[in-house]
């Protein structure tokens, strides 16, 4: 059976304006590879209701899972929950379970449960909560769409709670070999190896060392450990100087 597929949707003007270097998709990409879920696309869009709704419809329709990050806080630009509810044709309002979690959280800190904070209890009907052990305000899953926070600590904690609930596939196995020759001097041998090992994927990633030398990382990936092992052995034999 092929692995489940996924897309990641990052929501936030701060990425598009260059203010923030995206890191949540990078983190989740690694976790999905380990969980045997094949990531097919990452998309970053701004804090606009119609843009979010359109992207959620398109990406959740085309993949087994859609993971979102960002826009579920208490401020006026946090509009992800409402846009996702619309994408799934569900009403949204302050929900009792989320309200209880946040009420307890603020009560324990002697803080007021304000109108703004109540915004974080807005959850679409039919959604399942995703726990937030860092700052209480929950994420949620609706259909195949998993809505999580943008703050990295919170995002990572939500992913840790969510992933074990999802159907997983065969983990991606990756081996890589670093050679100090330009990519163009490895290309012919790599093409021959890729042709001989069609059950894995082979990639090459050029780099330039601090002293200006050209090098290449040669990577073998696949979900069948034996096939990856055989292809990597052939790669090592072809590039004996590799490390």
């Amino acid at each position: 059976m092929p692995n489940p597929t996924a897309a990641i949707l990052i929501i936030g003007d701060e990425i598009l304006t260059g203010r923030t270097r995206e890191g949540n998709a990078w983190f989740l990409a690694g976790e999905l590879a380990k969980a045997g879920i094949t990531l097919r696309q990452i998309r970053v869009i701004g804090d606009e209701h119609a843009t979010i709704t359109t992207a959620v419809r398109e990406l959740s329709g085309a993949h087994d899972h859609l993971f979102t990050s960002g826009g579920i806080g208490p401020t006026h630009d946090d509009i992800t929950a409402d846009a996702v509810a619309e994408a799934f044709g569900q009403p949204i309002g302050v929900r009792a379970d989320a309200h209880a979690i946040l009420a307890a959280h603020y009560a324990a800190r002697g803080a007021e449960f304000t109108e703004a904070r109540m915004r974080m209890a807005r959850i679409p009907e039919g959604a399942t909560l995703i726990e937030n052990p860092v700052s209480a305000a929950p994420g949620f899953s609706i259909g195949n769409c998993h809505v999580m926070a943008g703050v990295p600590d919170v995002f990572q904690a939500m992913v840790a709670g969510l992933l074990p609930r999802l159907g997983q596939g065969a983990p991606l196995v990756t081996h890589s070999l670093r050679v100090l020759r330009p990519e163009s001097a490895a290309a012919d041998a790599l093409r021959a190896l890729a042709g001989a090992h069609p059950e894995v994927s082979m990639g090459s990633y050029p780099f330039i060392t601090e002293t200006g030398q050209f090098g290449t990382n040669l990577v073998v990936r696949g979900t069948d450990p034996a096939a990856v092992g055989a292809a990597f052995a052939a790669l090592r034999a072809t590039f004996p100087e590799g490390k």
Copy 2:
């Protein structure tokens, strides 16, 4: 006149598998903000011909500019140039101008101009070359699509050569204020300010300090410096403790 719009398309399995943390879109997002080109979307996809062609058609059709990164090297998985040529309905082959650049580069180093290296001279008909001062192999612009390398040093050098050629808009002006209170304790005041200053955009980005304290970065953005200045003055007056 509104600023030109743009999308960035990052091509490479190494991002989707979590091997590499994407940095080119982050770099270019900052450069576009300075150049007054409004970035609306970043998309990351794998090394698949049909996926690239579809994304190039969609994103170049919906924006004034599309910038791509990755997949123009000498190896079997470098298929971006061919996919972009198809998206624009243009034939592609080894082109004399690109061939001459690469031939001179390898001749100067006493290196052979192999078949694999000649692959990097494949340029769609009608495209304009983008200079590569780092490792010679050029990028190209076809229609409104600007095709550049994935290696960060090369990508950045190509962007530096390309951007001055493009029509630019009003640079994005950004001011931010750091406050040590949770986002939910800034939300009401921020919403009022955003309502009073509709000509700028206001964002809030929560963080957690190393000692576990909740804080928020409050950000004002816009292309009219006077409007941004006025909104930021109001923000400072509202959050006098901010830094």
